[in-house]
């Protein structure tokens, strides 16, 4: 967080940097994006995919937004449909916003406080995936979760139409509430939007663009919102292309060809490994590589043998050669080894690596002697271990590597690759008795709890359910108590809270409910004509801020 604050204040000192200027001469044209497939419903209150969250940035607005700026600046929250950042009461439970007047939806209707109240209710009425996780802190949310159809959020959300003041009351202080309000699940839609998943029928929004056609089998067309006027460059800047056409249905190989030939301007999917050399050499100036705030990790089930023994889990951590895994992923250009939970560049991240040959802040080499000794001490030697990997080239290769490492330190290991569509839910369900698996997690918003509390908190562990994101089934009372404390502290003192999160990160890493593997980077491969490429750490490449002419 410290780094982030510095960056923001530096930007303020230097006044407005160059990117804020809109270059009229580049306005216009059609930008063509391609992806293998569509990403489901276009309902912004329901869709929970990186693919659509990325494009929602130019389509919808919440009361707050993440700043449309490159790099870590993208983690800053700025007022969007609200005139200013909210006033927070002394007890941290009441937030008061004032709605910016005169903003219109793409259907011409003016945004009123009614729309704001209805949109917040709608999160529950449509059973948004995060309704229970993110927004249950609002007063009245419990009733809404129990009876979605009659949700009123009474006592939680109230508005005064005349003054445009909206008040949101929480049951307890929540340091991340503003992050949550800036996510697509809390954007403001017209009050008369149906209280069910709209599916393929786009909902009007307030952004610079609107979806004018959507067919999950072929594509999505985004055109300029005729009622859009810039009210905040930071929150919702005007875009360059007149039309953004997002086509679905090409394989990743074909997507690479299309971008190389200039038939497409950008591909969503990551280029296949066999094309990387060609892209990296011949098309080097069209490639943008950015580290993500995400990780690949191997959760270990802390409730069944052999990994109910902490020594066995630590042994795995000592044994893994993370450089070998980085090479499987495409080499040091595309990933970097990691031992801890919080990714580099993330609030609360302090480099820490106990699982390396000469313990240091960063990982250097595996320590097989120590790993074998730990397995011996744990008394789990010779037990059968099955690694559940995804049936994709990289995940399968990592699975096979893990099998060899586990065999090397004394287990009877095998690897079972499952279809990527089944694997993620399969490994979550305790009834499948998964011992160790390989998976990934990408941030929702920049807060340490989004990794630590969600992936290793007691509340995320639901035995017997396909939806139990604490895959390791790790629930440590002391650590949980610290996490609760840190979340509370974050309300008043984010910096101190982040120091605490760093401690929690260390504690979780020491308890080793998982083996951290590496931090992936994202490859954005764009066509020759794309200019002004800017990567926002929160929602990735800002599509509408690049130009095609």
């Amino acid at each position: 967080m410290k780094k982030l604050l510095l960056a923001t204040s530096a930007a303020l000192v230097l006044a407005l940097p160059a990117w804020a200027e809109y270059k009229e001469e580049h306005r216009g044209g059609t930008m063509r994006l391609v992806a293998r497939s569509a990403a489901g419903t276009v309902d912004p209150h329901i869709n929970y995919t990186l693919q659509y969250w990325q494009i929602y940035q130019g389509l919808y607005d919440g009361l707050l937004a993440f700043k449309k700026a490159a790099g870590e600046d993208g983690f800053t929250k700025v007022p969007d449909l609200a005139e200013a950042m909210p006033e927070v009461s002394a007890d941290g439970k009441t937030y008061t916003f004032k709605l910016r007047p005169g903003i219109k939806f793409s259907n011409g209707q003016e945004v009123t406080t009614k729309d704001v109240v209805a949109s917040l209710q709608r999160i529950f009425k449509v059973s948004s995936p995060t309704a229970g996780g993110f927004y249950s802190v609002i007063v009245g949310a419990d009733a809404c979760l129990a009876e979605p159809a009659t949700c009123t959020l009474e006592g939680g959300v109230s508005a005064d139409e005349a003054t445009g003041v909206i008040t949101i009351t929480l049951t307890r202080p929540d340091a991340e509430f503003l992050d949550k309000l800036a996510l697509p699940h809390a954007v403001i839609l017209p009050a008369d939007t149906p209280a069910q998943d709209v599916g393929t029928a786009p909902v009007p929004g307030t952004g610079a663009y609107m979806i004018s056609a959507y067919d999950p089998n072929s594509g999505m067309t985004m055109t300029r919102n005729p009622h859009f006027k810039v009210w905040s460059e930071d929150a919702q800047p005007d875009g360059y292309p007149d039309v953004i056409q997002y086509d679905f249905g090409l394989t990743d190989e074909a997507e690479v060809n299309a971008v190389m030939n200039g038939e497409a301007d950008w591909m969503y999917d990551q280029p296949p490994a066999d094309r990387l050399a060609e892209i990296g050499s011949t098309y080097a100036d069209q490639v943008h590589i950015t580290p993500l705030t995400a990780w690949w990790y191997a959760p270990m089930n802390t409730n069944i043998p052999p990994f109910d023994n902490v020594k066995a889990r630590q042994a795995v951590n000592f044994a893994i050669d993370r450089n070998a895994l980085v090479n499987l992923f495409g080499g040091p250009v595309l990933a970097s080894p990691v031992c801890q939970v919080l990714p580099p560049g993330f609030p609360g991240h302090v480099p820490y690596c106990p699982y390396t040959k000469n313990p240091d802040q960063v990982w250097s080499a595996p320590d097989l002697e120590k790993a074998r000794a730990l397995v011996e001490e744990s008394g789990t030697k010779g037990q059968k271990v099955t690694v559940i990997a995804e049936d994709t080239a990289i995940s399968k290769a990592i699975g096979t590597y893990m099998q060899s490492v586990l065999t090397d330190i004394g287990y009877d290991a095998e690897v079972k690759p499952l279809s990527p569509n089944i694997q993620f839910t399969y490994i979550q369900n305790t009834s499948n008795n998964v011992q160790i698996s390989i998976t990934q997690w990408y941030q929702d918003y920049p807060a340490a709890s989004d990794f630590l509390n969600i992936l290793f908190g007691c509340a995320s562990f639901t035995p017997g359910s396909d939806s139990s994101i604490n895959i390791a089934g790790f629930c440590d009372k002391d650590i949980q108590a610290k996490m609760d404390e840190a979340m509370l502290l974050g309300v008043t003192d984010p910096e101190a809270a982040n120091k605490m999160w760093a401690d929690i990160d260390r504690a979780v890493t020491d308890a080793a409910p998982m083996a951290a593997l590496f931090t992936p980077k994202r490859i954005d491969f764009v066509s020759k004509r794309v200019g002004n490429f800017q990567f926002n750490n929160q929602f990735y490449w800002m599509v509408s801020q690049s130009w095609v002419q």
Partner: protein, 323 residues
């Protein structure tokens, strides 16, 4: 005749009910597949999961869920996808049919014409070098997996020789509706047609050659020769006609299966949004409503194609007619 048609219909219903039940049961018996958890999204809280389970009817007994789904496919036609929610599946499948039909029809024309020519030439030159050469080529055609061939074609037409005069005319991948531009439609489909038909040309040419060779040993050929007919006439009229029975049987089954979605790999490789690609995407996302609809659609076509084959038999072989 009426009885035969009724029998076919009953057979079709039986096959479709059986297949749909199997698809349904296999889907729900797969671990890690809980549709409520997939619809609710990652990290959904137990309350949200429960609300989704109820709103999608996953709390109902299996037979009710099955019957509701069948009703939504056949009666109301408003079955929606589990993944792209709100997307009506039946119209979506209907929309993809022209793409698949365009692909399969064009490929079928190619493979029938070329396999008949090759088969007849090979049979006429039995055991001499043209026969051996053609049969080896046929074997090579059969042995090349269509997805590999398709990717190689793409590599050549979309990447390596994109800017040369002899492949520069190939348009970007994807389908162009005939109504929009007949020329665009044709150009977009040439490479997929060739790719899809190569396997079948090889296979059908070999089958045809074998059955012509066999037919030439028959008594009626000896009779024809005794009547003093020319070898060409014997080959093309007498031997070829009866030899086409095996060919037509195969053709009926293959054509039915391809229209039903088996051209999947070709469609995926060339980015053609046909029934096969729809099925492929649905399998990738475990989208039961789409899988169910495309499977039913495919089984309908396979049974239909078989019925048509039976009729064509009668036209081709006088012996079947009298029996």
């Amino acid at each position: 005749m009426v009885f035969a048609i009724l029998q076919r219909l009953a057979q079709m219903v039986f096959v479709m009910v059986g297949i749909s039940m199997l698809v349904f049961l296999i889907f729900f018996a797969t671990p890690g597949v809980d549709p409520a958890a997939r619809i609710a999204g990652r990290n959904a809280s137990p309350e949200v999961l429960e609300a989704v389970r109820i709103s999608f009817g996953f709390d109902q007994p299996f037979y009710i869920q099955y019957l509701t789904m069948m009703q939504k496919i056949f009666v109301t036609g408003d079955l929606t996808s589990f993944v792209n929610r709100g997307w009506k599946v039946v119209p979506a499948v209907l929309d993809t049919i022209p793409v698949t039909l365009s692909l399969v029809f064009g490929a079928a024309v190619l493979w029938v014409v070329f396999s008949v020519i090759i088969g007849v030439v090979a049979a006429a030159c039995r055991d001499r070098w043209p026969d051996k050469l053609l049969m080896i080529l046929g074997l090579i055609g059969i042995s090349m997996p269509v997805y590999w061939l398709g990717e190689v074609m793409n590599l050549l037409t979309q990447s390596r020789f994109k800017d040369t005069w002899f492949l520069g005319w190939v348009p970007p991948l994807g389908y162009v509706p005939f109504s929009e531009s007949p020329k665009g439609w044709f150009l977009a489909l040439v490479i997929p047609w060739i790719t899809l038909s190569i396997l079948y040309i090889g296979l059908y040419a070999r089958v045809l050659r074998a059955s012509i060779t066999e037919a030439l040993q028959e008594d009626y050929i000896r009779t024809a020769r005794a009547k003093g007919l020319s070898e060409t006439r014997i080959l093309l009229v007498h031997a070829l006609r009866t030899s086409l029975i095996a060919f037509v049987t195969l053709f009926g089954l293959d054509f039915g299966a391809l229209v039903g979605g088996s051209a999947l790999l070709t469609e995926v490789v060339f980015g053609l949004q046909g029934v096969g690609k729809l099925t492929y995407d649905a399998l990738q996302n475990l989208d039961l409503p789409v899988i169910m609809t495309t499977v039913l659609y495919a089984s309908f076509f396979v049974v239909m194609a078989n019925a048509v084959v039976d009729v064509v038999y009668i036209l081709l072989d006088p012996r079947v007619r009298s029996a």
